[in-house]
Structures are given as structure tokens and as C-alpha cells.
């Protein structure tokens, strides 16, 4: 009997990727979940079970911040879903129109904000909306609406929505591109068959194209969800780690950063930080599961 010889090249090919991925991504992920169950008392790490989570959810000081950050994060996500994705779909629908001239030019120009870093975007908008510089008020003055101007980033009631809209401005290119690709892949015959039945123009979009691109809209929604629930950079760059004014723009990412690293007088606490990170992990996991099992499997995929 001849034993199958071990094909050594398979582990050799797999090893580097699996090692780096396991060591830097998977292991720290689970280690963070584990660290959330510990606490530091007198320079010693002791096991405290679910105490950190109890503090996070029920201790008045912590829970107020946590629920505030979570609520803000949901609002941040809702603004993206309601503004970014419809604009992205609309732009893609126009761009995919056959015989539209300069489509490539528009596409590249509209994608430019997406390639800029949050630091640039955050500061650029901070300057533009600043009452000191006066670009925003003078532009509103130009259309006769100067009375509408408020220092949006400085007011508690507007700051979060303003930042969400800035983020929408930055990322609208991504849904636009993905939907554009999906629209281009719809075969011409289907549209022509619709035309024969008298479905053209706008109604062709609603009745034929939109149902066909629903899977892409699903992907965009889950990408937006994951992106929003680990967002940090834009808020940090424009409002600082304190997510001012008065924590009104605090989201889970900035809350995690402050807790983990400390700020001003509060010392950093890696264990409470781990607890918040575990919470973020749970939220993202729930979102991904809802998408994978609830939406994706039920969505009808049309054979094209």
C-alpha cells in the first residue's frame, strides 16, 4: 500500500497569510473579548466576570455615555441610509443612461471626496462652515437665506447631523459606483422587452431596474452599517476626542478611544475599552447576521 505523500507546497502557500491573519486579526479579536472580563486592581489583573459590562450598562456615569454614543451612532447610520444611498442610486441611474456624454468625467469627479482622508475632509468642512471665515454665511446671503445660517458644528442640536452629512458627502461615490456597475450589467434585451410593453423612462427604472439591483443595495446597506459602527476618524479630526459640543457627536468609536486611552483627567482603562469593543463587535455581528440570514437569502436573485 502506498501512502499519499504530503503535498508540502499547500501549507507553504497558505502559511504566511494564515499566520499573519490569525496572529494580528483573529487572536487579538478574541483576546479583546477575553480582556473585557478582567479588571486591574492594585496593578494586578483579576478576573471579574461580567462586571465591566454591568458597569457599562447600569452604572449611571458609564451607561449615560454608552447609550448616548449608541443612539448617536444609530442616527449617524440612519442619515447615511436616508441620504447617501438614495443620492448614490440616483446618480448611478443618471450615469448609466446610454449615450450620456462625459459620464466618465462626472464619475471620476464625484468620486474624488471618497479618496481624501477624514482629516482633510473634517478640517475642510470645519473651515467652510466656520462663522469666522464666512464662506457658508456669504453663500447663503447670495441666495437670500442668510438668516438660516447657524454655526452648525458648534450647536448641540445640529452638530451630529452636520457631521453625518459631511460623511455622506465624502462617501456617496461608493454606492454610486456599485449601483452603476449593477445597472450596467442589466442586459439590454430585458429593457427592450419592457419597452415593447410600454415601460420606458422613469417607470422602467422603478419597475425593471430597481428590483434587479436590490442585491447591490443590500450589500451597500451592510457596508454602510459596518463602516458607520466603527467610524471614528471624522469625528476625532473635526471635533476632537471629546466629541463636542457636550458629547453630542460622540459615537462608539470616539467613546472607545476616550475610554481606552483616557483624556484630560480620566485615566485610560484597557478593560473597559475591551468591554466597549465587545459591544461594537456584537452590534456589527448582529447586523451582519441579519443581512446574511434575514435579507440576502430571502432576496430574489434574478437570472440575467
Amino acid at each position: 500500500m502506498q501512502r499519499a505523500r504530503i503535498r508540502w507546497h499547500i501549507p507553504v502557500f497558505l502559511a504566511p497569510a494564515v499566520l499573519v491573519y490569525t496572529a494580528i486579526m483573529i487572536f487579538p479579536l478574541f483576546n479583546t473579548l477575553r480582556l473585557a472580563l478582567y479588571s486591574k486592581v492594585d496593578q494586578e489583573r483579576i478576573f471579574v466576570g461580567l462586571d465591566n459590562f454591568r458597569t457599562l450598562f447600569f452604572d449611571p456615569i458609564w451607561s449615560e455615555q454608552f447609550w448616548n454614543a449608541l443612539g448617536n451612532n444609530f442616527w449617524f447610520f440612519i442619515v447615511h441610509m436616508l441620504v447617501q444611498n438614495p443620492i448614490g442610486v440616483a446618480l448611478a441611474a443618471i450615469l448609466s443612461h446610454p449615450r450620456l456624454r462625459f459620464a466618465a468625467l462626472y464619475r471620476s469627479a464625484i468620486f474624488i471626496p471618497t479618496i481624501l482622508s477624514f482629516v482633510i475632509v473634517g478640517f475642510a468642512w470645519k473651515l467652510i462652515l466656520s462663522p469666522i471665515w464666512g464662506i457658508a454665511p456669504s453663500m447663503l446671503d447670495f441666495v437670500g437665506l442668510k438668516s438660516l445660517f447657524v454655526p452648525w458644528l458648534g450647536k448641540e442640536e445640529y452638530a451630529l447631523t452636520t457631521l453625518a452629512l459631511i460623511s455622506v458627502w465624502q462617501f456617496v461615490g461608493i454606492p454610486m459606483m456599485l449601483i452603476y456597475a449593477a445597472l450596467l450589467s442589466i442586459p439590454e434585451e430585458i429593457l427592450e422587452a419592457g419597452e415593447v410593453d410600454g415601460i420606458t423612462g422613469i417607470s422602467a427604472f422603478w419597475k425593471i431596474k430597481l428590483p434587479l439591483i436590490l442585491p447591490s443595495i443590500g450589500i451597500i446597506s451592510i457596508l454602510t452599517f459596518v463602516g458607520n459602527f466603527n467610524a471614528f476618524d471624522l469625528i476625532y479630526a473635526s471635533q476632537g476626542a471629546l466629541a463636542g459640543p457636550d458629547f453630542s457627536t460622540d459615537i462608539l468609536g470616539t467613546f472607545l478611544y476616550r475610554t481606552f486611552f483616557g483624556f484630560q483627567l480620566q485615566l485610560g482603562d484597557p478593560h473597559m475599552g475591551s468591554a466597549i469593543a465587545s459591544g461594537m463587535f456584537a452590534i456589527i455581528l448582529i447586523g451582519v447576521c441579519i443581512y446574511l440570514f434575514g435579507i440576502q437569502t430571502r432576496m430574489r436573485r434574478y437570472q440575467m
Binding site: 499573519v20 494580528i24 481624501l116 482633510i120 466603527n230
Partner: protein, 279 residues
Amino acid sequence: MNKARKNPFNTLAMHGALILYTLIALFPVFVILINSFKDRKAIFREPLALPDAETFSMIGYQTVMKQGDFFLYFQNSLIVTVASLFFVLLFGAMAAFALAEYRFKGNTLMGLYLALGIMIPIRIGTVAILEMMVAGGLVNTLWALILVYTAQGLPLAVFILSEFMRQVSDDLKNAARVDGLSEYAIFFRLVLPLVRPAMATVAVFNMIPIWNDLWFPLILAPAEETKTLTLGSQVFIGQFVTDWNAVLSALSMAILPVLILYVIFSRQLIRGITSGAVK
């Protein structure tokens, strides 16, 4: 052909909408760039005017050059991005080849394991990553960032590249085997050159998030000599908040390299996205 598609009014409305949105997209970038070349008075008096002979000034750029080590930051960003992309592509392609080419026990499971990271952001593990980097003495080195970005980029790279490698013809590989080429030679000399377009797509996808990341440079490598351009400009702008010339110039200096790269690679990037690589 139907009439709706040729209606001149519709065409006009479509161009109107696109031009309006293009203006919204480009306006902030434009305002920052033109004002960085003006003197302080002109910035405030006529923020929307182009710089002319009278108002032209490079004072902001001079401050930036004197105060911040932007060349060092730029160099750090470049090293981190290029090295991370190199490892993502090399390791990713090797793993993708193993998954696409060979049938072995646990193949599907391994594929799923590697795909987990596509949806779960690596940031969740930050606390433990920092602890590990402290233990390994890698804090404030560029290696810490390179390792993290390599791990972050691998899942999507393996996923996309293995899709493409399945399309490489078996006859070609078997012919090479008959000629006595080793599996390694088949991978490096035959398959890699064939999937070059897919590698470019993966590279462009990974480039932007790595270059623009603020979180990990802030946490793993905040020292002066390891600052990346994104972190460097963040810190610099934070210190010079009231010096508008310096802030605008620093922003422009952060925008320009990305914009130049985009002009070079935009076709590749857009083709990558629209070819459905992320389906």
C-alpha cells in the same frame, strides 16, 4: 427605440443634476486649494476669489515647511503603504492559489475562515493588538502598522484573487507540470503574471484606506519619527488652528499627493469597482 431616450430636455436635466453634484463634490477641495496660495487678508476678504498677483502668497507653505517635517511624514506613509500592499498581494495571492488550485481537506473551511475578516473590522481588536505590540517592542515602529494593514487587507485579497485564479486554464498548468515545472514555479512564473489585473484591483482597493487611516497611526505609532502624513497633518493642523495660512497649506499638501495618485490610478480603480470585484 423610444422617444424618452432622445428627449433633449431630459438630457439637459441629467447634465444639470450631474453638474450640480460635481460642483458640490469639488467645491470644498477647490476652496482649500485656492486659498492656500493667498495672503491672510485675502483669505478673509474674498474667500472665493482666485489668487492674483497682489494676493498671491506662499507664507503658509513656508510655515508648514519650517514647523512640520512633512517630507518625513510623506516618506513614512509611502513606506507603510507600499510595504503593506506588497505583503497583502504576495501572501494573499499565495493563499488564494492554494485555495483555488488544490483540493484538500478543510479547503472550504479555510476559505470561510479567511473570509471572516471581510466583514469584521480589525479595529475591534485594538486593545489586544496594542498590548501585543507593546510586548513585542513594535510600538512606534512602522512595522506595527505594516503588520496591521497586511492582516486587514488579506481577507478581501484572498477572496478576490481566488475568484480570478479559478479562471486560469487547467490545461496551461497541466502542460507546465508535464514540462517538469514545480508547483512554486507554476505559481510565480505562470499564474501570477496572468492575474496581474486582479492584483492591481486589490492594490488600488487597499491603497486608499491604508494611506488615509488615522486610528492605528494614532494608537500604534504616534512618535514624531513614525508619524504618517494623515496623522502628521492632523497634529499639525491642531497646533496651528489660528494660523489659517498654515492650516490651508497643510491641507493642500495632504490633498495633492492623493489627488495625483488618483489621476494616475482612477481608471484602474473604477474598472476594478465596476468589474464587480466586490460582489
